[in-house]
Symmetry: C2
Subunit: 490 residues, 2 copies
Amino acid sequence: MPKTKMQVQKGFLFTRLAGEIEAGIAAGAYTAGEKLPSIRRLRESRGVSLETAYRAYVDLEARGLVETRPRAGFFVASRPRQAAAPRLSARPYGPSPVSFAAATADIIAASLDPRLIPLGASTLSPEWLPGRHLARILRGLLAAELEACLNYAPASGDPELRRAVARRSLMWGAPVDEEEVVITAGCAEAVALALAAAAPPGSPVVVESPTHFGFLQLLRESGHPVLALPTDPAFGLEPSALRRVLSRHSVGACLLTPHFQNPLGALMPEERKAELVELLDRRGVALIEDDIYGELSYAEERPALMRRHDRAGNVFSCSSVSKVLAPGLRIGWCLPGRRHLAAVKRLKSAFSLAVPTLAQKAVARFLAGGAFDRHLRRLRGQLRLASSQMADALSAGFPPGTRFLAPRGGNMFWLELPTGVDAMELYARARAAGINIVPGNVFSPGSAYGHHIRLSCTRPFRADIRRAVETLGELTLELMKPPARRGGRP
Amino acid sequence: MPKTKMQVQKGFLFTRLAGEIEAGIAAGAYTAGEKLPSIRRLRESRGVSLETAYRAYVDLEARGLVETRPRAGFFVASRPRQAAAPRLSARPYGPSPVSFAAATADIIAASLDPRLIPLGASTLSPEWLPGRHLARILRGLLAAELEACLNYAPASGDPELRRAVARRSLMWGAPVDEEEVVITAGCAEAVALALAAAAPPGSPVVVESPTHFGFLQLLRESGHPVLALPTDPAFGLEPSALRRVLSRHSVGACLLTPHFQNPLGALMPEERKAELVELLDRRGVALIEDDIYGELSYAEERPALMRRHDRAGNVFSCSSVSKVLAPGLRIGWCLPGRRHLAAVKRLKSAFSLAVPTLAQKAVARFLAGGAFDRHLRRLRGQLRLASSQMADALSAGFPPGTRFLAPRGGNMFWLELPTGVDAMELYARARAAGINIVPGNVFSPGSAYGHHIRLSCTRPFRADIRRAVETLGELTLELMKPPARRGGRP
């Protein structure tokens, strides 16, 4: 385990516990297939809470070291996955303007190309999404409420949908009133409005490194220099890095994805969330949290919003139904901190007036019914299974030196390639072989992550996906070979 | 006719001709109900083009001085309307930040209140819009193309819709290729993207005075000071005012509604469009034209885009289907000048990713079919009739001293109230009487137009609307009365 990782775990009980168990497995104290102590037993022997013990096992399981067997408990994985985590991006970046690789637009377009095996796009396959149920709701609305559905909705959103979102917020650890909900064109517009409300023009904005390329695009287009800070592949943004940056720069806002981050898949522990919110609060810097993958937790319960720790009214929570119902509906929301609510409402009205009424009402009906929770349970199970199969295939098919963590939710795999393998080259060869992946370059404002790729798990792990992963592994191996010696010409 | 009006007409052939005919009517050369010379006759006797002659009559008709009888020609109106135009706003405003009346948000909200007789909102009544046809198309899409409709569309728009818009642009005097079309969340987002692409941060932006309050909101939220310039109620922005402002200020962009402007109803003559585009081009200032009412011309042909005169690739044309199909679909488009196309595409992708796919495909099918033109013809006829009835009712029901022009397209009536009548007071009394109107204050960045109101004609002119107009006229008369003398107390 690399040194940086050990450092960041200091202070987080469950990760320390997981580290100890991992060390025990590595040392042979527990052998493959052996039953591990129950979580109650761990509580007694180590003096930790049930939750801490549970989280330690979930963490180990996500990393392929431990297996859960229903009603039997936790066991050492019979064939442990290659489990080295990608390393932390060591150096902070910025504040500097985003300088995009010219290739980015092309790479993003390729991720929508239906002729390629889709290991690049993060959009879930329609077979996992409740399209037919949505169509039924839409038809019902067209029959019974046509006039209302074709007329303007209020700028802050259809009252029924705002109510449905507010009701669901009871499960997010930070309940809001419907008056605090602003409906937006997907999570993208929610984040754009939050940024416009919170960050003074031209002020530098803190993001994770690596981060969602959409955020880099937004920051470039809105003229904010970027401060991209070291981010742990398992646990998210480093508080120490944030502390240093806040003491040196007049930061405009901080934009994070605490849950199953894109592209890392990192899940921020509750303690770290509290610490970051407090750090930002002390400096009066707004936090914009992107919760778009929050509902896709593989654990029983979804993680709580960072907003839960907010006392100053300075945290914006943004999300959408794009990853759980349908991306093409373009329905999202912003829950602005109370300091910013009026500004976000004004901005929404000024920039795009309102969100389509028909889609708002359809989502409202779906969220309010019991079908949504049933769908989520099923979707999480499907995603967890496919993701575990993908992790196994990556572990078996990629050459030694490849580093990755299996996610604990969402659908992202962040791979650090073996030394010397160039991500753009792998991207090009994969494309020639009919496979789409995303090279790491697009997730960084500078030129970092030239040896990383993002793969996503967006559909059942069938033979075509398995073969594509194997092919990718072979292409990676080829790129590791020393180049053929050149001819004798000078 | 006020002096300012005479001045602005200098140089525009058809308005000069209209002025001459008007003078003839006033002098008794033609009497009420008398047939006027045919347009061919006018061409011969005055040496003008057929188009000029036709436009002169259309202009006179819109102002209630002339009547068209199908297949018979043009006649002096049997009961000429009170025809004084509202006066030009005399002084330019700015560059200054927009300072909104606190009442604006409340006034906008009231215009959506279904309990009030709607003379305020500019949204057309569902009975004039093809809701059932749209519902049929939507149902067809849900049945046959569900997966595609629930998935992301490309950021610049669904290819089918971009093609349909490009095909229609053949009728707008400035044809574009589908690659030059960017689909947006209504006209509001199209204008916001154009502004972000064209105007440097903090640069002053020229608008008409009065102008759409949504533009003022947008400029305030995006931090642009406003230069609101005198605008003729019949013919739009004054070129002389623009020339002066361009020589004194470093203007970031110019935002105009050349066709049936909100709230004036002004229609800019072709010559003036060419003059303004050339003025702006010479200084390298981008023009953003809002064409949202362009299809609602009462004449046979809709007016051409200002873009037609663009040689520098510096004109953005923005529009939507909100005034012709359904506001709640939120489908619009931006046709950026070639200088700005790449920037608008980047901004759209960064700020809201994409527009809902289902609504895009539905609009594409509607625009591409012959039903759209049939619908437009019917809608224009309905609007023209209702608007003419409204003009008659205003003329009959409002006290002397009220000034307005009947529109030549769209659905706006801009009323200058008799001396001393306060628009906010009339607004409040109308509301108490169950009628919604919009006071002039909200159309100006400062505090102009306190004696103006905007009425809109959005549905068939039935008894309830007629009564509401009569009531408004009575309330106006009441407000003209000198206040009751106060009691004897000092």
